[in-house]
């Protein structure tokens, strides 16, 4: 109690400082006068009276100091002093300060930016959602293919009923629709969710309500929707009476029952959701028919939230046990099917999973850049410490404690770091949405990947700031506080540099910088090589194809109308000059959505026991192979005759033929798909289906007319995309003026979009690698020019003794390049060890790729030579006469 009181009054004393001094003077003055008067009264002569009084009072200066220390908090006082002094020192050498702050700003800013990405995308990706730390992503697994799969609705309900360790199970199936309000039609991202969605997430609609439990059930029975705040604002102009209005969605009028709060974007990393509909509406929005009562129809992606205190392992164990029981209860649909829980940052079905490797690389890289920046500032401080050697020596000899000096130097470092952190936050804030710029919009909807600068990020960057202060400040500070007084005072006149140890230290720092940047350069080289290898991989179809789509489902078309539309459009396009051929398909290769998968059986193929072969397939229209440029190795492609009335047929790919027919010609034999026998009429050459890096996989095609209808358009044409887009609009409007095509892009563009994350990784490493190189070069330059400036006498002597300009150049350059080489050797060893860590990102590139390493070496050496040349050249300009005389 008393202690707190003392602390508070001392704290107050910090503020009331001016009055203290004068009060103290007054009081002591009064004391002296009284004492003198007393002495005089006792009959002393005035002079003696005064001196005795002063003696008895003691040293006024010490007294005042003791008084001051008691009055306020000395630690704060000293700190305040240090800070003010530090600022003065920084102002005195603005060049140094600016360079140091800039280096650190880049380091801290980059680190904070990556922290904010990791926070906003991986760790707490869903703004406004409560208890994200207990959320996990849930998917199904298939033991036979070892692939992840979705979950069926009946299974989902069973998990919900039988698992006790979970607060909530949430269905969240992303889908899309085209929303036409007035004369404006836009592609919107939306989710089919379970009715508990908003309640479980702790998100309360600002208008209306969320879903009610009954709205999960009944085939298309509850046409209600909750819209996002953004949609309410932009498309409905903040209509306060929006609740209860209807909106056509995929051909069905939906009642708007709620508006989500501002800042809630749903639960899908990468996209901002615009609409939510309850699970009962699955059939309307998720292609492939009514699935709510089909245990074999797996379509659900979702999340669970663990009860407090439940570990992921316990949760996984329980849900696996329930899955096992379901396997026994429903062997036909569930044999070999399990459940896998993932931490949010590993969510496999959204962009968290795709960005995880990139962001981890980014984190490693920025830590490197931060280290390099710290090494650089450390070096700068060492140089300056040398310049301030005199000041320090004097302060030490008049009695400053070494601890006090250390504190002073660290405070100065901290000021630097603090200023840099402020700049870094600005940089990070500016970089928040940078990731989105690197990822392209898809289907007209742009990605949504915000960084999040919340208090956790701020705390982390504060920690980074502190750690970096210690990193770069401690070495020079210790160096300084270790000054040997006697020799320092002597050496001051002699002009001998701070000794070998200091030079060694500085060189060591440069070697570290070079090594770190070499690692980054080599990494960038490897990823670049890999990206090139990926991009040089043939997708299996030839260039010259444009692709687009018309959302007929959203426009309310039924199957018959879609068929009529497809036929009419194909007819029209075929007659446009410049178009070689056109075809429809259910899926465009390399799109986000996954292909349909079907269990198959082939005549004469015995599946290994416990394995039910399942193969992906696509529904395509006539002339698809010709349009895409996928060669047929045998047989024919689909024609108009392959329709509802014709015999069911299929085209298989090479890998499928090899696996299931084992060298026999599949054309003419049969394949059973979902219990229906299809005649194989052709074998297509291998092509890529999802991304360029995938391994050859079995795949087959069926005619659209004999399965689901699709509305993707592929066009082989000589026309430019711009012209073609106009033609397409014209032709579609000629059929139905209410329709509009989606974004028209080249297939190449479609393919490139799948390599976006690799490109981000490459550009990130490239930028940071370049930055690191620059910083390392500055460091090298600093060390070399310092060495040169300190060995003027030696250089002058050499010149006087007849050393030529090339001699001197070689002397200095070789020293700098020796440092670089040592750094490169260390860097190469480190890079070889670390390349293994990114080997899963490398495609057709060895982690020891000589080209990448050679390139890194070349760049490093060039940068090293450039950094050394200027100091070396300056060395040759030494005037021997002056150098020797000084």
């Amino acid at each position: 109690m008393t202690r707190i009181r003392v602390f508070l009054s001392r704290l107050a004393g910090l503020v009331r400082k001016g009055s203290l001094e004068s009060d103290m003077d007054d009081e002591l003055d009064f004391h002296l006068r009284m004492e003198i008067a007393e002495n005089l009264r006792q009959g002393m002569p005035p002079a003696e009276a005064r001196s005795l009084a002063q003696r008895r009072l003691g040293g006024v200066a010490q007294l005042k100091e003791a008084y001051r220390e008691t009055h306020a908090l000395p630690i704060v006082e000293v700190l305040w002093q240090d800070i003010r002094f530090g600022f003065r020192m920084l102002r005195r050498s603005p060049g140094f300060s600016l360079l140091a702050i800039l280096c650190l700003t880049l380091g801290i800013g980059a680190t904070t930016a990556v922290f904010s990405w990791i926070e906003g995308i991986l760790l707490r990706p869903f703004p406004l959602v409560a208890h994200q730390e207990r959320m996990m992503a849930i998917t199904g697994t298939d033991r036979a293919t070892r692939d992840r799969d979705d979950v069926s609705f009946p299974d989902f309900l069973d998990f919900q009923r039988n698992c006790t360790l979970f607060d909530a199970f949430i269905v969240d199936r992303i889908t899309g629709t085209t929303l036409a309000i007035g004369d404006r039609a836009d592609r919107s991202t939306m989710s089919v969710v379970s009715a508990n969605y908003f309640d479980a997430l702790g998100v309360r609609p600002i208008l209306g309500r969320g879903f009610e439990p009954a709205e999960d059930f009944g085939r298309n029975a509850h046409a209600v929707t909750v819209i996002s705040y953004q949609m309410w604002q932009e498309r409905f102009h903040r209509d306060p009476a929006i609740i209860g209005k209807t909106q056509m969605l995929n051909g069905m009028p939906h009642t708007i029952i709620g508006v989500a709060p501002q800042g809630f974007y749903g639960t899908f990393v990468g996209w901002a959701m615009q609409l939510w509909v309850p699970a009962s509406m699955q059939e309307t929005f998720d292609p492939g028919g009514y699935k709510l009562e089909d245990r074999g129809a797996r379509w659900i992606e979702g999340f669970v939230r663990l009860k407090p205190g439940v570990t992921p392992d316990q949760a996984q164990a329980e849900i696996s046990a329930v899955a096992k029981r379901l396997e026994t209860a429903y062997p036909v649909t569930n044999r070999g099917r399990g459940i896998q829980l993932y931490p949010l940052w590993q969510t496999p079905f959204n962009n968290a999973g795709t960005l995880l490797p990139t962001l981890s690389i980014a984190l490693a890289v920025v830590v490197f850049v931060l280290l390099i920046a710290c090494a650089n500032v450390s070096n700068l401080l060492l140089v300056r410490a040398f310049g301030r050697r005199h000041e320090m020596t004097v302060r030490l000899s008049v009695g400053a404690g070494r601890g006090r000096l250390l504190k002073q130097l660290l405070t100065e470092g901290f000021i630097l770091a603090l200023l840099a952190a402020a700049g870094g936050l600005l940089v990070a804030n500016w970089c928040r949405n940078l990731l989105v710029l690197l990822l392209p919009a898809r289907g007209g909807v742009s990605m949504f990947l915000p960084g999040d600068l919340d208090w956790r990020v701020l705390v982390l960057s504060a920690a980074v700031c502190l750690i970096s202060t210690l990193l770069f400040g401690l070495v020079p500070a210790f160096q300084t506080s270790n000054i040997d007084l006697a020799s320092a005072l002597k050496a001051d006149s002699g002009g001998v540099v701070g000794g070998k140890r200091r030079a060694l230290l500085r060189s060591g720092l440069v070697v570290v910088q070079v090594a770190l940047s070499f690692v980054l350069l080599a990494g960038a080289g490897l990823l670049l090589q890999s990206l090139r290898a990926v991009q040089n991989t043939s997708p299996g179809f030839t260039p010259g194809v444009l692709t687009s789509y018309v959302d007929l489902v959203a426009a309310g078309y039924d199957r018959q109308r879609i068929k009529n539309f497809d036929d009419a459009l194909m007819d029209r396009l075929q007659s446009v000059s410049g178009i070689q051929s056109a075809a429809m398909s259910r899926m465009t290769p390399f799109s986000y959505r996954s292909y349909s998968t079907a269990p198959i059986a082939v005549d004469g193929y015995e599946a290994p026991p416990d394995e039910q072969p399942a193969v992906d397939y696509n529904e395509v229209g006539p002339a698809y192979f010709a349009t895409m440029g996928i060669p047929l190795l045998a047989g024919r492609e689909f024609t108009l005759a392959d329709n509802e009335t014709g015999p069911p047929v299929a085209v298989v790919n090479e890998a499928m033929a090899a696996q299931f027919w084992r060298g026999r010609d599949p054309v003419g034999s049969r394949v059973q798909v979902k219990g229906r026998w299809l005649q194989v009429v052709g074998v297509a050459k291998m092509s890529k289906y999802r991304n360029l890096r995938e391994l050859p996989r079995p795949f087959f095609y069926v005619p659209m007319r004999q399965s689901f209808m699709g509305t993707n358009i592929q066009i082989r044409t000589r026309l430019s995309p711009e012209t073609m887009a106009k033609v397409l609009v014209r032709e579609i409007h000629a059929i139905d003026t209410n329709l509009a095509p989606g974004e028209l892009i080249t297939m190449q563009e479609q393919v490139d979009r799948t390599t976006a994350t690799q490109r981000i990784a490459v550009s990130m490493l490239g930028v940071f690698g370049g930055l690191a190189l620059l910083l390392a070069a500055i460091g090298l330059y600093g060390v070399m020019s310092y060495t040169v400036s300190q060995s003027t006498r030696e250089l002058g002597l050499r010149m006087a003794l007849g050393a030529s300009v090339p001699n001197l150049l070689r002397l200095v350059m070789s020293q700098g390049l020796a440092l670089t080489s040592i750094g490169v050797v260390f860097g190469a060893v480190a890079a070889l060890a670390m390349a293994k860590l990114i080997s899963n990102l490398l495609y057709k590139v060895s982690p020891r790729d000589p080209l990448a390493f050679g390139l890194a070496l070349l760049v490093m050496m060039i940068a090293g030579s450039a950094a050394c040349f200027l100091p070396a050249w300056r060395a040759t300009q030494t005037d021997p006469v002056r150098a020797l005389r000084d």
Partner: protein, 100 residues
């Protein structure tokens, strides 16, 4: 000692306290008078004394210190504590037989 002085004499300025302590101790405790002031400040911070500026007997500006209620309590506690300790020490210092 300061507290006792203020308790018996009432409000007093620094010099007065110093004189009083010297007188009571019979000049045996002729310390540096200066050490008195930081001590006064500490007592103030603990809330045991207060101070305010006023005029001295000879009409000079002087700071007067006065004991507070908390100070009196503390004084009582200290005095009791001291008596206990000095009592114990006295028992040690006195010859063993003398006590009985």
């Amino acid at each position: 000692m300061i507290l006792r002085t203020l308790d018996t004499l009432g409000p007093q300025h620094g010099w007065g306290i110093a004189r009083r302590i010297e007188q009571i101790s019979g000049d045996a405790l002729a310390l540096n008078q200066g050490t008195l002031y930081p001590a006064l400040l500490r007592l103030q911070q603990m809330g045991w004394i207060t101070s305010k500026w006023g005029a001295s007997d000879n009409n000079r500006r002087a700071r007067f210190y006065a004991i507070t209620r908390a100070g009196k309590k503390q004084l009582a506690a200290e005095a009791e504590n001291w008596e206990r300790i000095s009592g114990i020490i006295a028992r040690f210092v006195k010859p063993a037989g003398a006590s009985s």
